[in-house]
């Protein structure tokens, strides 16, 4: 017993070094696995406070660009107003039914909420940014985040009371369903962790005539991202002889360096869609089991 104590006393520094390393590494790997874990919680609130203080000052340096982006977005929305359109057929006229119930009533699928980026990083291989809206404001995991000019920025991965952590497109774990605007062919966007100025688009078949400068939008194969939002433009076409698919380098239209005002977009039918997906999977599995 005495020897054990002597051993501990002799190698006390080394043992504490190993213990601290194990603690740090276990935090690191656990967090990577579950994406959010214990870490976001109180810590998020504290760093969030400091980050928003800093952000109050930093805002002034980006006001001009931000204004231009918002103005452009407003412009595009203005052109969608009902008042801009008129019926050509003068023979028809609108009759208002006495029962005011519109059977062709639209159901809302996507709901946008505004938020503000308080801290941002683009230097690492796994980049995240923090926004100043959290669970109290109705932010949930997996919501899409869109920049103020309507280009895709990322996806919520962690929520605390008043802040949320967003996984940027510039993150090696990101995959986003995407489609070519011209042909509506679906592929997926990834990031290789190298240049923050280029994303990679895969799975676009070679039968598609892709040209440099073509627009890439968010695709339909996603529960999180609303389809039809701009991701970027094709910057380079890499010929991959071994497959029938293109590898396209895409220049993102969002400027990740100065994200300021963003929109968080909620898919109101996400749960239903996911539940249906799971139920189908279960049924198929059961069928397969019975067949065996």
């Amino acid at each position: 017993m005495r020897n054990v104590f002597l051993f501990i006393r002799r190698y006390f520094t080394f043992i504490s070094f190993v213990l601290l390393q194990v603690l740090a590494l276990s935090m690191l790997f656990r967090y990577n696995k579950f994406q959010r874990a214990v870490f976001l919680g109180k810590a998020n609130e504290i760093t969030g406070y400091f980050n928003s203080q800093y952000d109050n000052v930093d805002d002034y340096f980006h006001l001009k660009e931000e204004n231009q982006r918002v103005h452009r977005m407003n412009d595009s929305l203005l052109n969608l107003l009902q008042g801009n359109f008129m019926k050509i057929d003068t023979g028809s006229h609108v009759i208002t039914d006495t029962i005011r119930y519109d059977t062709s009533q639209m159901v809302r699928k996507y709901l946008a909420k505004e938020a503000k980026v308080v801290t941002n990083s683009i230097n690492g291989m796994k980049n995240y940014f923090q926004i100043n809206r959290g669970a109290k404001q109705g932010i949930k995991d997996n919501m899409a985040v869109i920049n103020s000019d309507g280009s895709v920025a990322g996806q919520v991965v962690g929520v605390s009371e008043n802040f949320s952590q967003v996984m940027s497109l510039l993150n090696v774990h990101t995959t986003v369903s995407a489609m070519m605007k011209k042909s509506r062919n679906n592929g997926r966007i990834e990031w290789d962790g190298q240049s923050p100025f280029y994303l990679t688009l895969r799975n676009i078949p070679k039968s598609d005539s892709v040209m440099v400068g073509d627009t890439v939008l968010t695709g339909i194969n996603s529960y999180n991202y609303p389809p039809g939002w701009m991701i970027g433009t094709v910057a380079d076409i890499v010929e991959d002889k071994s497959t029938n698919f293109y590898v396209l380098r895409v220049r993102p239209s969002a400027n990740f360096q100065n994200l300021q005002q963003v929109f968080v977009i909620e898919n109101l039918q996400r749960e239903e869609q996911v539940a249906l997906d799971k139920a189908t999977q279960k049924k198929v599995d059961e069928l397969n089991k019975r067949r065996q």
């Binding site: 390393q21 740090a24 935090m27 690191l28 790997f29 967090y31 190298q194």
Partner: protein, 177 residues
């Protein structure tokens, strides 16, 4: 100023500098990642015990991690350099304590060449370890090598710039304390 108070201020200063200035530098190139916050550990007094050095290193790394959302990554690297710091200091400073009476590592205290070696070795350890952990997760080996060299070069450049631009008023170690 009291040693403790001074180091607390230094700690806050380095973390804030790293998060709000260096991490916000526009991307010049993907290999250029400026890092200086761990200079806090390099500048801690000689007299600090090895155990407390480890604890302080861990807390420094962890508080930076809270802002970068990489729990444990920088903490692990800081604990590593905090562990190896006393060994390297022992090799580099003169054994005769009557000649050597500065309280913390600096170019003036250790001489330029030993100080450069001290900074270089610990920078390589710090960046090498962080990038190795990143390599295990994602990335390729050539990238890893280039990044270790480039980030170390940038950090050493920053540290020496700081050393030349802001000379610290060095306190002497006395026997009375």
């Amino acid at each position: 100023m009291n040693d403790v108070v001074r180091n607390v201020f230094r700690f806050i200063f380095f973390i804030v500098l790293q998060i709000y200035v260096l991490d916000n530098v526009p991307p010049l190139h993907r290999y250029i990642i400026p890092m200086i916050y761990y200079l806090f550990i390099l500048w801690l007094p000689f007299s600090i015990s090895r155990f407390w050095l480890l604890i302080i290193g861990f807390l420094t790394g962890l508080s930076y991690d809270y802002f970068t959302v990489t729990p444990g990554l920088h903490a692990a690297a800081c604990v590593l350099i905090a562990y190896f710091r006393p060994f390297i200091v022992n090799i580099l400073i003169p054994k005769d304590t009557s000649e050597f009476n500065y309280s913390e590592p600096s170019a003036k205290a250790m001489g330029w060449a030993p100080y450069a070696v001290y900074v270089l070795i610990l920078s390589v350890f710090h960046h090498g370890y962080i990038l190795l952990l990143e390599l295990l997760d994602v990335g390729n080996f050539l990238d890893f090598l280039i990044k270790v060299v480039s980030t170390t070069a940038i950090s050493v450049l920053l540290i020496f710039t700081a050393e030349i631009l802001f000379p610290r008023r060095l306190k002497y170690r006395t026997n009375t304390a």
